[in-house]
Amino acid sequence: MISFGLTEEQEVVREAMRDFAAQQLRPIARECDEASKISDAFLDQAWELGLTSTQLPESVGGGGEARSPITNALVLEELAHGDATLAIAAVVPSLFANSIVDQGSEAQKQELLPLFCGPKYHAASLAVIEPSPLFDAGQLRTQAESKGDRFVLSGVKSFVPMGGRASHFLVIASRDGAPDAFVVPRDAEGLTITAGEKNLGLRALETSTLELARVEVPASARLGGAAGCNVRRLLDGSRAALASVMVGLSRAVLEYCVPYAKEREAFDEAIARKQAIAFCLAEMHMEVEASRWLAWKAASELERGLDATRSAHLARSYAAEKSLWIADNGIQVLGGHGFIREHPVEMWFRNARTLGVLEGTVAL
């Protein structure tokens, strides 16, 4: 049955996240962007929301709630509406943790999941992107060779979120031409972590470069152990999540521009009364909606264990195109004010262009 209805519980969660984003994220977003830094205080405060732990099994100390990609999509949109950078920082550990819950071996669950059930923010991260031009997740350069009962990882990964403080990395590498995933502890021999990459947007989100110089890991480090894993499903979750983040960002731009355009006057009337501006805002709204439904569709397929590769791909690429269009035109609506850092729109524009080229930073 085709339905857009939220459960009461989902309504409640969405409301709560909307308030949290408005009160805790939006007010500090600019300051974090200018300082290229997020305080531990914020990360720990966000951690208390239990975004990561509540959906972990009770056996490892989690909340034992069933993981719901749909609910997570709602949460991500609301948090990103406050600020995409802080939203991503808050949920980076979920991507790692969820991957273990979803595809990890029993041993991996027992060893790694408890890390995320503590009272303080704990970082672990996914390493997908590579610094090469025209990076394509379908064409990985990082290699994993079998060596006896071990794997040897070689290559360079970049844009690894929270890499500077992550205890573990889930490294996506090509094994005999097919993508595979491996759990690599931060102190692994041959692993060099260079924290603090400088990027166009999401400036407050620390990202690292990982150099893997023949890093050896045991066979048990492979995600899923002997059973192996499905990297595609892992990336599907990440793409669907990014889509929801971009929807939140887009909505933030729209909701900032509407009151601005109604107040701002030119040629004796509010600029919102000019068709050029009014229609632009109408199209922003239209595309926020369209992007959201695509994100929901991907999330609902993930929730039901269906193959979501197509819908996640379409949701991510569509949201990437439209969120950039919306933020770019948000600047245009504000005119000169859109170009100066007294207003958040230029930051949202940088974040949108940045989010559009990412993979594997967040998950559902």
Binding site: Q139, E283, W296
Partner: protein
């Protein structure tokens, strides 16, 4: 609970619709090239196939979608075959929707069985219904309305057995003066001028009407309310109601055509050995595949805006904004999709040996009728900004 899966009966109905559509498609080119002819009310194949629509309300389960949603999916499925040709032509037109929305119980009872066209647009007024010049004057002596004026772009205007006409009883009152009148075919003074020659949907029945001192009984006023209500309420509102489902429906009709274009293009890409893969990046993709993926995303997005508007209607929730979102989105989407498919396939795309070029022409109407894309943007912007008609023109 958010869900985008079809129920078992949804699946069956859409499968049946698809089968009917494939039959209709066999006749699509013929009636496009021979626009003076009308497709028959029943195709020869009709006897062998049980029409899907008739089964719409039968055997539905809790897992099946609401009627409005299902209706949109069936509309898409039908125009996927052809815009105009049907296995069995359905009775009823836009006028029937207006009758259901604003007619009195007696009127619904009396005319429900007719095929009613809807006549709104006039040569002088396109998207601005408040400028209707067609007049209705009450003749107290005979208790008759006297209708005078011209109407164009009347869908199913030739085949309809009657028409719901917008006419003003008081020009000074603007949109408040507009009322709907039901005029049966054959009424003296009611002339069907001609069938329009169009870019696309050529097999479709689009007429121009002329009314000269056309007299109808007093009780042919839809809803029966003769008072001239205040601005933006009353008669006009009543009729506008019908738009809340017709906008998503028009969007769905266009998207069915766009989906046909995408399916055809995907098939040709496969034949040509061009891989269309999901989950890859730009680097590993060919230009035609990348273009196709972009069009596919546009289609999915647009389809979901239609589902959204229809779902709200099914929930009995207001969907004025969402109806315009779906109409505006689909209006641009179908243009981009059909144009893009031709760009991908190149010269073969413009050959009338294939239906792709026809789909380009047929779906172009989507962004024009039932309120152009510009009008939909006006509606959206007003809701978004909380502006009235005078604040945003």
């Amino acid at each position: 609970m958010i869900d985008f899966r079809l129920g078992p009966n949804d699946e069956k109905l859409l499968q049946a619709t698809r089968e009917e559509a494939l039959v209709a498609r066999k006749y699509a080119r013929y009636y496009d090239e021979n626009e003076h002819e009308f497709p028959p009310d029943e195709l020869p194949e009709a006897t062998d196939l049980q029409p899907a629509l008739a089964r719409m309300n039968i055997g539905r389960t809790a897992e099946d979608s609401s009627i409005p949603v299902l209706g949109m999916l069936i509309s898409m499925g039908q125009t996927w075959g052809d815009y105009s040709v049907r296995l069995r032509r359905q009775k009823g037109g836009l006028g029937n929707a207006a009758l259901q929305a604003s007619g009195t119980p007696e009127q619904k009872q009396r005319w429900g069985g007719e095929t009613l066209a809807m006549a709104i647009t006039e040569p002088g007024c396109g998207s601005d219904p408040s400028k209707v010049q067609c007049s209705a004057v009450l003749d107290e002596k005979t208790n008759e309305w006297v209708i005078n004026g011209e109407k164009i772009f009347v869908t199913t205007g030739c085949r309809a057995t009657g028409v719901v006409v917008w006419a003003t009883v008081d020009k000074r009152a603007g949109r408040a003066g507009i009322k709907s009148f039901l005029i049966p075919k054959g009424t003296p003074g009611f002339v069907v001028a001609h069938k329009e020659k169009k870019l696309g949907i050529r097999a479709d029945d689009t007429a121009a009407y002329v009314f000269q001192d056309c007299r109808i009984p007093r009780d042919h006023l839809l809803g029966g309310d003769e008072k001239v209500a205040k601005q933006g309420s009353g008669g006009f509102r009543g009729v506008m109601k019908t738009f809340n489902m017709t906008r998503p429906a028009v969007a769905a009709i266009g998207l069915g055509i766009a989906e046909a274009a995408l399916d055809f293009t995907r098939g040709e890409l496969e034949k040509a050995g061009v891989l269309v893969e999901y989950g890859g990046g730009l680097a590993g993709t060919s230009a035609p595949a990348a273009k196709f993926l972009q069009l596919e995303a546009l289609f999915e997005a647009s389809k979901l805006t239609v589902m959204r508007a229809a779902w709200l209607a099914g929930e009995g929730k207001p969907n004025n904004m969402e109806s315009s979102v779906s109409k505006a989105h689909a209006g641009s989407a179908v243009r981009a999709i059909t144009q893009g498919c031709i760009e991908i396939l190149g010269p073969m795309g413009i050959s009338r040996d294939h239906l792709l070029e026809k789909w380009l022409r047929d779906c172009r109407i989507t962004d024009i009728y039932e309120g152009t894309g510009q009008i939909q943007r006006l509606i959206m912007a007003r809701e978004l900004l909380g502006y009235g008609r005078d604040e945003l023109k």
